[in-house]
Amino acid sequence: MKFIHYLETITGVDIFGLSSLTIFFTFFVGMTIWVMTSDKKSLDKINHLPLDN
């Protein structure tokens, strides 16, 4: 397949890996903190949605 901007070497490609790891890590730390601190009552309410209907 023809692309225009071929990179000539693979050096420095680890920026891809590093950035994805950073995104992943930040997201999941943030989400875990939220999950641990969220309000039980509202979660229960949402959990019962299929049963109320």
Binding site: M1, I10, F16, F27, T37, S38, I46, L49, L51, N53
Partner: protein, 712 residues
């Protein structure tokens, strides 16, 4: 807080339910046929449209897109309306979605049996149907999002996030993997070639598993299991964590289909690592489902629906543990190309997808027809027969896979390979026979279900529009004592859609982009040249007949493979292969180095009657290749398409191509004549022989005469 009256659309649910059952039977019958063909080559019937290579894609497309597809829509249309407390957005869109999808299925069956295939697994459908799929999928998306937007329940229950993630990811996968350049009304070439094509294909293929077979079914599990058990899911927190983890991690797992192949090593490692990490969110889903029943296991004893669901979720857990194990390179070295992979697939397909579909059907049909299930006893019988069917399917395939792999790798004391390839096949025939019995049992369970549900439907009457009422949504969403960001996104389905897209796109971009943009990933080999026109025609016949379904073209860097097949496959050899044909299974031997191994006459006799050259072979005969003529009218279009895709044929070569084709064909005809074999020069078998004699030869040879003719 005005209470509004509205009606749920059950008619569309009924339609999808019936379609699910119909295509389930069709798809499983096709599966049974191909299972029998493996040990009974006569069951190919000597006809092109009943041969294994063409029926197998019908089986896979039918069970995945027709059976699970309609099952998914049945579950989504039922649950989404009730979770949103709103009727589907637009009844006309519902009808277009339903009939459009069934049209796609029928077109798929007809075109696949006629040999119109892209040669890429689970994406075989050619470009006009790909466009139709995109259109109908968009209709589904509009209908689904329209319903979510006009909902009367502000919270988005977890099932809905799974549906949203399914929709956006399948869109992304379908669009990217379907980049193909048409050269005729029904045929096209993949934009990608070789290694890149393999990587895109299995990024797509594994995520078809993830986002067509898994996430929508997790979504319906999160609705129908609580309904059937009459208790809420075990942990909502867990469902949030495992949802985001699942959709992020799954995308990266694609390269685990390409371990020890010519794919760059860094991509293989990423696939392995992410596949292993995937155990956690997958098991999160399984545990959430199973723990929902804690304290209620006595209900499972009484209720066949819960039995189906429990086994389904358990098989999901087994499958999502086995998958990561198969992604470990040392395990994969043994299992790849064997029946172990088929065993793994069918634990998930028969157990998770099949059984969950049956459980939901048994739950939904009585409800929308307002009558109890005709026979709980028959449903329980179905459960047990189906379970035994799964076991009889899967265990022989584990045995066969492991046995065959070990036999392939066995050396004698003198250092030669102990077993011929064909011996490893005939040795596992009893396993193939047992597997087909398992499949037949599973299918007979489905027939019991059909009977049971027909009697149920006859005894009841459809509640086409189910009355409901709920207060309209307030302008401002109520706040809770603790504000938190997930509440923000749960109330905003569009943002949920976009964030899901970002999560799944990251994996794809980071794995695919470097492979495409970095030249050094695909070392070019100077001796590798484009196919001649005759060889290209032959290759397209190879794709059309589905040869890649039984024959791989990827010699792995193992001692036994190099000894059996020759030099291991290099990435640069495949740069002109649109599409790649590495294959996933060795029912027959690998063909990556078959070029020059046998005389033309061997191939001529073998294709006509495989048993004459290989006694005991299970390969079907391809007698129509001797009567069919090569479609030379289309050669120029093919060459032009290849040039557009970057294959370095000389400019204007499309006008010259047929002349070269006939010259090469006459050479082969003469050669066959000298061995007392008569054939017209333009018979399709000549093209196929030309292709097979070319495969894998470039790296060892000086330029061949035909290549010199190319540069004239």
């Amino acid at each position: 807080m005005q209470v509004e009256k509205f009606y749920y659309d059950n008619r569309i649910v009924k339609q999808f339910a019936f379609a699910t059952i119909l295509w389930g039977v069709v798809g499983m019958l096709a599966g049974l046929l191909i299972a029998v063909q493996i040990y009974l080559p006569a069951a190919n019937f000597g006809l092109p449209f009943t041969t294994f290579g063409r029926v197998r894609p019908v089986h896979t497309n039918a069970v995945i897109f027709a059976f699970v597809g309609n099952g998914m829509f049945m579950g989504v249309y039922y649950s989404l309306q009730r979770l949103c407390k709103a009727r589907m957005f637009n009844d006309t869109l519902s009808k277009i979605h339903f009939w459009g999808w069934q049209l796609i299925i029928v077109l798929a069956a007809v075109t696949l049996l006629a040999g119109y295939t892209s040669g890429k697994e689970y994406a075989e459908l050619e470009w006009p149907i790909d466009i139709l799929i995109a259109l109908i999928w968009i209709v589904f998306g509009i209908n689904m999002f329209g319903t979510i937007i006009k909902r009367r329940e502000s919270h988005l229950y977890v099932a809905i996030w799974f549906f949203i993630a399914t929709w956006i990811t399948v869109t992304m996968l379908h669009v990217v993997n379907s980049f193909e350049l048409p050269f005729s009304w029904l045929k096209s070439y993949s934009f990608y070639a070789g290694v890149q094509d393999a990587l895109v294909q299995w990024w797509y293929g594994h995520n078809a598993v993830a986002f067509f077979l898994t996430t929508p079914y997790l979504g319906v599990m999160y609705y129908f299991l609580p309904k059937a058990a009459n208790r809420p899911v075990y942990s909502y927190r867990l469902s949030i964590i495992h949802f985001w983890a699942l959709i992020f991690l799954y995308i990266w797992a694609g390269p685990h289909h390409l371990l020890y192949t010519a794919l760059p090593d860094w991509a293989q490692s990423l696939g392995t690592v992410f596949s292993i990490m995937l155990i956690a969110p997958s098991w999160g889903g399984m545990l959430n489902g199973l723990f929902t029943l804690r304290g209620a296991w006595d209900k499972v004893r009484e209720d066949p629906i819960l039995k189906f669901m429990v086994v389904a979720i358990t098989c999901y857990g087994m499958s999502t543990f086995e998958g990561p194990m198969l992604s470990i390179k040392s395990v994969n070295a043994i299992t790849h190309f064997t029946d172990w992979t088929i065993a793994h697939v069918h634990v998930g397909a028969l157990g998770w997808n099949g059984f969950l579909t049956f459980g939901i059907l048994y739950w939904i049909i009585p409800r929308i027809f307002n009558t109890p299930l005709y026979s709980k006893k028959l449903a329980t019988n179905h459960f047990w027969i189906g379970t035994i069917g799964i076991i009889l399917y899967v265990i022989p395939m584990y045995w066969a896979g492991f046995t065959q792999a070990l036999m392939w790798k066995q050396f004698t004391e003198e250092g030669t390979l102990k077993f011929q390839f064909l011996e490893t096949v005939t040795h596992i025939i009893p396993m193939y026979i047992t597997r087909s019995i398992g499949g037949a049992l599973y299918l007979s369970g489905v027939f019991i279900m059909v009977y049971n549900l027909i009697k149920t439907v006859k005894a009841g009457s459809l509640v086409a529009d189910e009355a409901a009422e709920a207060p309209a949504l307030e302008a401002h969403v109520e706040t809770h004592s603790k504000q938190y960001w997930h509440r923000w996104i749960e109330a905003r389905p569009i943002q949920m859609l976009l964030f899901s897209l970002v999560a799944v796109a990251i994996g794809g971009i980071l794995e695919l982009v470097p492979t495409f943009l970095i030249k050094s990933n695909i070392p070019t080999i100077a001796a590798v040249k484009p196919y001649t026109p005759l060889e290209l025609q032959g290759r397209d016949i190879y794709v059309r007949e589905g040869c890649y379904l039984c024959h791989s073209q990827m010699v792995r860097p193992f001692r036994d493979e190099v000894a059996r097949y020759g030099e291991y496959s290099k990435a640069g050899e495949f740069v002109y292969d649109h599409p790649f044909q590495w294959g996933s299974k060795r029912t027959g031997p690998d063909l990556a180095r078959v070029g020059g191994k046998y005389p033309n006459s061997w191939h001529f006799n073998h294709m006509q009657d495989p048993q004459s050259m290989s006694p005991g072979s299970i390969m079907p005969s391809y007698i129509w290749l001797y009567k069919n003529k090569i479609d030379t009218a289309i050669t120029p279009a093919k060459i032009r398409a290849m040039i557009t895709l970057g294959v370095p044929y000389p400019k204007g070569y499309d006008l010259q191509a047929n002349a070269d084709l006939m010259n090469q064909a006459k050479e082969i005809q003469e050669n066959l004549k000298s061995e007392k074999l008569e054939t017209p020069a333009n018979a399709e078998i000549v093209a196929l022989i030309a292709y097979l004699q070319r495969v894998g030869t470039d790296i060892k040879n000086a330029p061949k005469p035909t290549v010199a003719a190319l540069s004239n």
